[in-house]
């Protein structure tokens, strides 16, 4: 049987997933992953009915992580939810959040448009217009960068190396935080890799899946898979720096779709920190770090933990002289992609994140490190600290030398 197979029959009803569900812990109305996932899956075969409970699932994957039987519970929820929403009116906010890539591409075509939109979103929030379409006016929204990653990359002079990797920036890095993508490039260069990009790549599809647009997500999967097949044939690994993109490309594609090569591509895709940690294991990591005198807390994104790769950021960052980092180990931040940005989920999202926010406050740090863009937004807003990607620290350490 293949690794990522969706088989609700495997569920023993052991309820471990309910004990690990951060949403069920704070919302009594949510009946928890066991019931909305595998238990209801049997009943959905009997009669498809609307299940309001499905809307509570944040797709954070803690159920999948905890399941001792290997049931991809959250994926069952996402599939059932998409089916439930099929043919019904689409709330504007859900549509917008699922299609962030379209907005990003549109803005990228017009100089200065990003800052106008950022201003507009701020204005919209203060006027309550976002709430009207279902997006929380209290949630931190990603702001758009004036120059996309792809544009910045083009004007960056790289050293040429024999060893090459393909960097898949994903929407967040390309449109919102290109500086992280540039640090990825610099860090890879410092390790003797030439970085290629492929502008043919499209959004991984993760926001489309949670928005119920499985058909569109499938199209994206088809496109990305065929491009990944091409790069794999050349022997170039693919690097991601967004844990939700990584999870989608490596794992959720196989749970949701059927395209030739997905399983083999999964073995050729690495998160940037996973890649660096692997180099270190092989004694190939450039450890010529300068001093970084700082103390930070690390938050492991759920979508990173779902990939079962350990905590490579901690492994790598602990090599930097003067730098101290500790694992917060405080569970889900509550944001889970766009979940915490929804008007009717903001409160739930903040309740989920409370443990983490308290942990950060108690630690008294000014900066928190996390591999996921929306985790960073949530941490910045919930704990009022700076939140950065681990590769930014690595880049700083190389620069300090």
């Amino acid at each position: 049987m293949s690794k990522h197979v969706v088989n609700p029959d495997l569920c023993t009803a052991c309820t471990v997933c309910v004990a690990h569900c951060p949403v069920a812990e704070v919302v009594r109305e949510y009946r928890g992953p066991k019931l909305s996932g595998p238990a209801s899956e049997r009943l959905r075969l009997l009669s498809p009915q609307d299940d309001a409970s499905l809307d509570f699932c944040s797709n954070c994957k803690n159920c999948d992580i905890s399941c001792p039987s290997g049931v991809p519970i959250s994926t069952l929820n996402m599939k059932a939810r998409a089916k439930m929403w099929e043919g019904k009116p689409e709330p504007q906010g859900r549509k917008m959040m699922a299609h962030g890539e379209q907005m990003g591409k549109l803005l990228a075509r017009f100089p200065g448009a990003a800052s106008i939109v950022n201003l507009g979103m701020g204005l919209g929030k203060s006027l309550g217009m976002m709430d009207m379409v279902g997006i929380s006016s209290k949630a931190p929204l990603p702001s758009y960068a004036s120059t996309t990653f792809y544009k910045q990359f083009k004007s960056f002079k790289q050293k040429s190396f024999d060893k090459k990797v393909v960097f898949y920036p994903g929407c967040t890095i390309n449109f919102n935080q290109p500086e992280i993508g540039m640090d990825v490039v610099k860090v890879l260069q410092a390790n003797g890799y030439e970085v290629l990009v492929d502008e043919e790549f499209v959004c991984c599809g993760s926001p489309l899946v949670v928005g119920g647009y499985l058909g569109e997500a499938n199209e994206n999967a088809r496109k990305n898979t065929s491009l990944m097949n091409k790069w794999r044939a050349k022997g170039y690994p693919v690097i991601t720096a967004c844990t939700s993109c990584g999870l989608m490309l490596k794992q959720e594609y196989q749970e949701l779709f059927h395209h030739e090569g997905m399983d083999k591509n999964a073995e050729n895709i690495y998160d940037i920190m996973e890649f660096l940690s692997m180099l270190d294991d092989e004694d190939k990591l450039n450890t010529n770090f300068g001093q970084v005198n700082d103390t930070m807390l690390y938050h492991a994104p759920c979508h990173l933990r779902a990939q079962g790769m350990g905590l490579p950021a901690l492994d790598v960052l602990s090599l930097i002289p003067g730098y101290r980092i500790e694992n917060a180990a405080a569970g889900c931040c509550g944001m889970s992609g766009s979940y915490g940005m929804q008007a009717n989920k903001r409160e739930i999202s903040l309740k989920v994140g409370e443990k983490l926010f308290n942990r950060i406050r108690q630690a008294g740090v000014k900066s928190v490190v996390s591999d996921c863009g929306t985790c960073r937004l949530q941490i910045g807003d919930g704990a009022k600290v700076q939140a950065i990607h681990p590769v930014q620290i690595v880049a700083r350490a190389y620069a300090a030398k």
Binding site: T12, R42, L45, L46, D51, A52, S53, S69
Partner: protein, 535 residues
């Protein structure tokens, strides 16, 4: 001494059908059942409401009876029948020449059999083997044996009938060749007592020979053992039959949340020989694999066995060759007036069988009230308003499941409780969406003595976890509400888990063994029900 006009013996489909019919015609009647309602064959079969197509070639009369009763039950029994329709599928292994005979047979019986393309069939039922050769649609349906029995009793009670479960017949009493009553024994206390009556109607299926012997008579019923497998989910949304001469393991029925595959057929020594075997399970899987190639990937919940009552005037006729038709025997001809046995037949024709038996009683009584069991719904539809109230508390699928289990009256009581007592909204059985309020409703019924009785009324414990979680929750509820009838709570736990184990131990591989280990951990470990761990 208690006195009723007619005593019906046997709480299966036929017995409850007779009770309802008697009560609706104004005859004072009581039903006696040795264990719980639907304890025997009526819950140990595949849950198929035959269209009659299975009998179209070999037994046209049975085929015609089936389609008539099927049409009636789909109307009056909406709350226990799911009109799934059925496929007859000719596979690579089925002889081609049977097909034309079968099509002709269906036509003769008045059974609609419409051929569809293999592509269309695979679109509708994607799990079917792509190697299938020909497919016909027929009006088969699924019927829930427990609910059907339970709902007939609810209807009979509304007309004044009485029901006594866990009451065994010791003797049929008579004076001068006329029935005067029965001597019965309380299963729990062992106490014997008499009930007077003018008529005894034996509707005990496979037990008919044993019961007749208690009146010193002989009835030629051969119990025939059939084993079935229950799968964890729906493999198909329709009944799937093999298009060949009726044989073992050739029917899959979507039954509520599960699928049932059956059955085997072999002569049994006794009516209560209901122990399945691993060999039978393997045999069924081997046959089933022709229709569903991936059958080994589907989780088996349990195997179970029932005995069919095959009647033959010749007591030596055995197996599938014996008639599946039914006979109403007036034992006045054997020298005992007032004793009637109804034997043979099948679940699908239970109502017709009941009608014939009650006609016979009414003839004696001079009761001219016509039979109305084919016209009146067994239970009423719950109103939209009631369903709206129910949906506030049940998980999404729970409201309609509960409505079909409880009928309008029962649902109304349960919803009242859900509204007034928030604690009763808790799900006791998550696999089958059973709330605490519903468990309490079932446990409080006078026919509920054990946890298995509650299970049969609610489906609690019959889903994926097979009682792992709902058992201790329900026992807790029964203890808290004083519904244990003085039974030890530890014994209640053990009895229920043992009853589940009976069906699991013959399918102990794959997911079932993982589930069993979890259950064992909960009951033997955490709850220490066997006392293995000393303080």
């Amino acid at each position: 001494m208690e006195k009723v006009t007619a005593i019906v013996i046997g709480g299966g489909a036929t017995g409850v059908g007779i009770l309802r019919d008697l009560a609706m015609r104004g005859v004072d009647a009581m039903l006696i059942e040795q264990r719980d309602l639907a304890h025997g064959t009526s819950s140990r079969y595949h849950g198929l409401l035959h269209s009659g197509a299975r009998y179209a070639v070999k037994d046209a009369e049975a085929g015609r009876e089936c389609i008539e009763e099927n049409t009636i039950l789909r109307r009056i029994g909406r709350h226990c029948v799911e009109a799934t329709e059925g496929f007859f599928v000719r596979t690579v292994e089925d002889p081609e020449d049977f097909e034309a005979k079968w099509v002709e047979g269906c036509k003769n019986c008045g059974i609609s059999a419409v051929q569809i393309s293999v592509e269309e069939a695979l679109r509708l039922e994607p799990n079917l083997s792509p190697k299938i050769k020909a497919v016909y649609r027929v009006p088969d349906a699924a019927i829930d044996g427990f609910r059907m029995v339970w709902q007939n009793v609810a209807s009979a009670r509304r007309y004044g009938a009485k029901v006594r479960t866990y009451t065994e017949v010791v003797r049929i009493n008579s004076t001068n060749g006329q029935v005067t009553g029965v001597t019965v024994r309380d299963y729990f206390t062992g106490q014997e007592y008499q009930i007077a009556c003018d008529f005894v109607i034996s509707a005990v299926g496979s037990w008919a020979g044993e019961l007749a012997a208690k009146a010193g008579l002989q009835v030629g019923v051969q119990p025939d053992k059939g084993t079935l497998i229950a799968f964890n989910h729906r493999i198909a949304s329709r009944v799937i039959n093999r298009l060949h001469q009726a044989s073992d393991g050739d029917i899959f029925v979507p039954h509520g949340s599960i699928t049932i595959l059956g059955t085997t057929s072999m002569a049994a020594d006794k009516a209560d020989d209901t122990e399945p075997s691993v060999e039978e399970v393997k045999k069924l899987l081997n046959i089933g694999r022709v229709l569903f190639e991936n059958i080994d990937d589907y989780r088996i919940l349990r195997a179970f066995t029932g005995t069919r009552p095959l009647y033959s005037a010749d007591p030596n006729a055995k197996g599938r060759g014996a008639s599946r038709g039914f006979v109403t025997l007036d034992h006045a001809h054997d020298g005992l007036k007032g004793f009637i046995s109804i034997v043979g037949g099948k679940f699908t024709t239970y109502r017709l069988m009941a009608e014939k038996a009650v006609d016979m009683v009414c003839e004696y009584l001079g009761n001219k009230t016509p039979c109305r069991t084919a016209e009146e719904d067994i239970v009423e539809d719950p109103s939209e308003a009631l369903m709206g109230r129910a949906k506030k508390f049940f998980p999404v699928h729970g409201a309609s499941l509960a409505a079909s289990r409880l009928g309008a009256e029962g649902l109304s009581r349960v919803v009242d409780k859900l509204e007034k007592q928030p604690s009763s909204r808790q799900l006791v059985c998550e696999c089958e969406n059973v709330t605490l309020a519903e468990v309490e409703e079932a446990a409080a019924d006078p026919t509920s003595f054990t946890l298995s009785d509650v299970r049969r009324k609610t489906r609690m414990g019959m889903g994926t976890c097979q009682g792992a979680f709902c058992t201790y929750r329900t026992v807790g509820t029964m203890v808290a509400n004083d519904l244990t009838n003085g039974q030890d709570s530890k014994e209640l736990l053990k009895d229920f888990i043992e009853a589940r184990w009976k069906g699991i131990r013959h399918v102990l591989w794959g997911n079932a063994i993982r589930e069993t280990e979890l259950t064992r951990g909960i009951y033997e470990g955490t709850l220490n029900v066997n006392g293995a761990m000393k303080k």
